[in-house]
């Protein structure tokens, strides 16, 4: 008897500690979520939509660099843009980047836009992954490790830009496919990604993110009338390593302007706060229930009368 009471007191202590941890955890998260300014040496790419001519050379360079399967049609086939009126192409398991054409109302000539992972500074894919299959490097590359992935596809839902794609051809070894910033082959040596090097129009500029922001502002200021005064990715989803400037409003060329300016983690932290609570309170709670049940069982064992009355109750 005594030992059970002692255990119960300990349970209360453990549970209280659990509640405190549960309550404090969101505070810590919040501090990081809103104040983290990003790594200082963080790299990025500035995409200048006014320069892109839709030549798809970047797509071809990406395909070669990442040894992806051959496309259905050649990369210099521009007729692909004519067939996209109903559905725009998206990056998938066979192409980490695709270029789409937009007939923007604000521009006489069509506008082209390259899509790939934006390499968020606080990636939702990473924070949503419960087995830590994603990592972020000091350079800002968001990497995925298929050896850790269990194939739950939460990251596909979490990503505000719908980037991670699932490779359905290998159902038994899960594989999310997405742009890796050419980290293993280039970024690690300080070299720009393959698409950047291949672009004939310097529509893609590689450099330090802070420097790219400065260049973007300078281009907007120096070329009056060429750009709208906005850098997409500076604050979207808490800031992305890939930044965009354009001559037309971003919502006319397929950018989601409703993406929160704060890291996605800030919006799910209330939910995530439950996780430590579940992990800390539930063991205590269920251990308590278990012990109570066990106590009753022990009591029944010691006192057969109790067992009879119990039997009567169930029979009735």
């Amino acid at each position: 008897m005594k030992s059970i009471r002692f255990s119960r007191r300990r349970l209360v202590t453990i549970s209280l500690a659990g509640v405190m941890t549960g309550l404090l955890a969101p505070l810590q998260r919040n501090a990081r979520g809103s104040d983290f300014p990003g790594y200082t040496e963080s790299k990025g790419v500035l995409v200048d939509l006014t320069r892109c001519v839709g030549c798809r050379t970047c797509e071809a360079a990406c395909n070669l660099e990442n040894q992806l399967p051959a496309p259905e049609r050649p990369f210099n086939d521009m007729s692909i843009f004519n067939e996209q009126s109903d559905h725009l192409r998206r990056p998938d398991d066979k192409a980490f980047t695709v270029v789409n054409r937009y007939d923007s109302g604000s521009s006489v000539s069509p506008v082209y836009r390259k899509i790939q992972c934006n390499h968020c500074q606080e990636p939702a894919c990473l924070t949503s992954c419960f087995v830590n299959a994603y990592t972020i490097t000091a350079e800002g590359a968001v990497l995925y490790n298929h050896q850790v992935c269990v194939g739950c596809r939460t990251c596909m839902i979490a990503c505000p830009f719908s980037v991670p794609a699932f490779c359905y051809s290998s159902a038994f070894s899960p594989q999310i496919m997405k742009c890796n910033f050419c980290y293993p082959t280039r970024l690690v040596q300080g070299r720009p990604p393959a698409c950047v090097e291949a672009c004939p129009r310097d529509a893609l500029t590689f450099g330090e993110r802070a420097e790219l922001l400065r260049i973007a502002r300078q281009r907007i200021k120096r070329n009056k009338g060429r750009y709208i005064n906005y850098i997409y990715g500076e604050n979207e989803a808490g800031g992305t390593s890939w930044l965009y400037i354009a001559g037309v409003p971003f919502n006319e060329v397929g950018f989601d302007e409703d993406i929160p300016k704060q890291p996605i983690i800030n919006y799910v932290k209330d939910f995530l706060a439950i996780v430590p609570m579940v992990l800390t309170i539930w063991p205590g709670l269920f251990a308590g229930i278990h012990l109570l049940v066990k106590r009753r069982a022990t009591a029944i064992d010691n006192d057969p009368k109790l067992a009879e009355s119990d039997h009567d109750k169930t029979a009735a």
């Binding site: 210099n76 310097d202 420097e211 120096r222």
Partner: protein
Amino acid sequence: MNYMRVIILFLTCAMVNSFIVDAVFASGDDSIIEIGTIATLYSPVLFDHELHVKYASCVECHHHTTGEEPSDPYCLPCHSGEKGIAQNSCNECHTNGSVDETESDTSVVTYHNDVPTLKGAYHLNCIDCHEGIGTGPIRCSGCHVLTGAGEKFYKTEKRDQEGGESK
């Protein structure tokens, strides 16, 4: 021994070619210039300088280097009234460096920052002007012929997908 002379002539031409590429004035104003130092996926571009002089003034491609008054107001404070400078072919300022290299020294106020690469400078200037005046090629094949390497790169042939393996 006639074929030897042909070969030597050919080699000399190839060497000379590699020197004059991108040097607009190297062989005179009215020549066809072969632009090919960076040509890998496409064969060198034959650029008719004389033709282009009819459409554009010097500054539109050569900025302040030929002695004409710069058209970009950003350049005027330093380069107004200049006599021009000796370096006026594209590759003397436009290198193939990334931003990190062109903007390595941030301690001084540099105006020549965010300079396009050589490849970028060609394509930005050529295509934007062609689009602006409504004449001249704006798509790749208008100026370029794909090389074998280019065909492989752009996966233009079916052999890349299946033929290569079956052989």
